[in-house]
Subunit: 345 residues, 2 copies
């Protein structure tokens, strides 16, 4: 089967010798704090806007490296510098996280997007693990509480859907809560952890996963049924694949062998469904009835989708020895390495 | 040069023998009123949602055919059926036009998008011309008044931009007003017509057109300067080309030969700028500094862009005899006919 150890060494080398040094070297904004995230292939900054998703993910990433790979002071310091910028500039008066700031930290885009809050909670949760600094725990906890409060109407006044004509529940928030809850488990009440996990697994596996179709839908009716509409027909294979490694992490935590096996099987269904048989790669969006999509970018094949797929397939293979996962991992790996690396920069 | 008469006959034949019969035959919703606009190549309905942009444009189109091509009763009746649906279902209590309705006419998406209002005003303006029905004039006038009132903040509470950090003015509304004002000139005060035209021409030609760059920017600062940001760097060549035929129509109305000439010259700059030298066709979005774009679909080549370009180039050629316009028309025409027609349906 696949050469798991050689592949692990390859990805670790790429991460630690190529990706991380590139970002350490080029992304610090030493004048205003935070990170530049719009970098060209030479490391040059082509735009200075600071998106909360990306700022928070970078804090999380370097704090996680410090916690899980090696307690390097430079990694922690790099995470701390981003956290200071986020703490000072990232929230409105109600504690909601903006979507984007300008280079100086002034808000550019209002807090309409609850995933900013999710990534911020993860960032400060990791940073608390690294530092024991109570303030970071408070930010993570308050943000998590706020996410749960906004849960039923995350976009608030920015929601453009007219109420009640076609109410739909969306996959993204319940799905990310499955990951977020493990990221901040050390900060919240054990009952809340268990409730959130139970809710998350049930929602992903029983509400949004459609056994007869072999896909995860992005939107279903409030009582979990299919809606024959643009939103209701939408499938995002990378999103579903990502959710399967969240399921595997939750299942591993409670030694739920059956759930690991089920998530592995669903991941295989999803990759078979989302794979482009003509050119290889995984489509961004699909319509479950094969109708035309509103998203012009539907047949693009994005890097994040392939990375999420590889994480899921690697976990499925390592946790269960499932050979289909091993074969598909190799196939996605080969496709990704053939197309994504920049040979010039 | 180009065979203007043969081309005119070709386009007229396509429109009247192919496009219009297809929509007459397949798009009527005889049960709930309005039009189906999501049709597959055989004319089958793949989605029943009713977008106000498309409903209103279809009313406009059939009323315009009745007014300008031939007073066929079936065209007028078809326009009237869509207008009845729009009138009954399209607006909220304040007279703002929703963005989308479901098949039965219940609102699905709130009135966050002022172009719904613009297309509705055009539709009822044409229909008043066709029928003399006072009620249609009132709807067009009230909608136009409402557009002017919402002009400084068209998205209202749905606007996600934080005020004042990076205020920008957007090209789309002033540009479309240049077209809308001619569509409803017969309904509004002559001073308001002249003021709107003056404002429109000045804004398009002096504020958004950038002579040193040879492009039209989608967003500039309140005092008309370049903003070095994702929004500020954005160029939509098809949008600029479309604006140039609006300019030509306004210039023709007042026999402004200088303005016709200037719009023709700018159109040539825009098509040279937006043309894909490798594969042919016009890009959807570009960054004026050549930086990466946020729009994943930036290098797609869309049918509407090519149609707007051909309208502009045809008008430029016919109004001025400009040979560059003739050559570029032929080039876009050849490219469009090589790629867009569906050979199967």
């Amino acid at each position: 089967m696949i050469e798991a150890e050689a592949l692990a060494a390859l990805y670790k080398r790429q991460l630690l010798n190529d990706v991380i040094p590139f970002w350490m070297k080029n992304s610090a904004d030493n004048e205003h704090g935070g990170y530049f995230t719009c970098l060209d292939r030479t490391g040059g900054v082509y735009d200075t806007d600071k998106f909360i998703w990306l700022q928070a993910r970078q804090v999380w990433c370097f704090a996680m490296l410090y916690n899980q790979v090696e307690p390097k002071k430079e990694w922690l310091d790099f995470a701390l510098s981003g956290a200071a910028f986020l703490k000072a500039n990232g929230r409105d008066a109600e504690g909601n996280w903006y979507f984007a700031l300008n280079r100086e930290g002034k808000p550019l885009v209002q807090p309409y997007n609850i995933f900013s809050d999710c990534f911020a909670a993860m960032a400060f949760g990791q940073l608390y693990k690294a530092t024991g600094e109570e303030e970071y725990a408070e930010i993570a906890k308050n943000t998590f509480r706020n996410i749960l409060e906004r849960r039923s109407d995350p976009k608030g006044k920015y929601n453009k859907h007219y109420p009640d004509t076609r109410p739909l529940q969306n996959f993204a928030l319940p799905m990310i809560l499955c990951n977020l809850v493990l990221e901040i488990e050390h900060l919240i009440d054990a009952d809340l952890v268990e409730d959130t996990i139970r809710f998350g697994i049930q929602t992903v596996m029983d509400t949004f996963y459609q056994p007869e179709l072999g896909v995860i839908l992005e939107n279903v009716t409030p009582d979990g049924r299919f809606s024959d509409s643009f939103d209701g027909r939408l499938v995002n294979p990378g999103h579903g694949l990502e959710a399967m490694w969240f399921m595997m992490d939750l299942a591993k935590r409670s030694d739920n062998v059956k759930l690991i096996k089920r998530a592995t099987d669903i991941a295989i269904q999803l990759i078979e469904y989302g794979w482009d048989d003509t050119y290889g790669g995984i489509f961004y969006f699909m319509d479950v009835k094969g109708k035309p999509l509103q998203q012009l970018e539907w047949d693009q094949e994005l890097w994040w989708v392939h990375i999420e797929a590889m994480i899921t397939l690697a976990k499925g293979y390592l946790l269960t020895g499932d050979e289909r996962s091993g074969r598909w991992f190799q196939k996605v790996h080969d496709c990704a390495w053939a197309h994504f690396p920049d040979t010039e920069g």
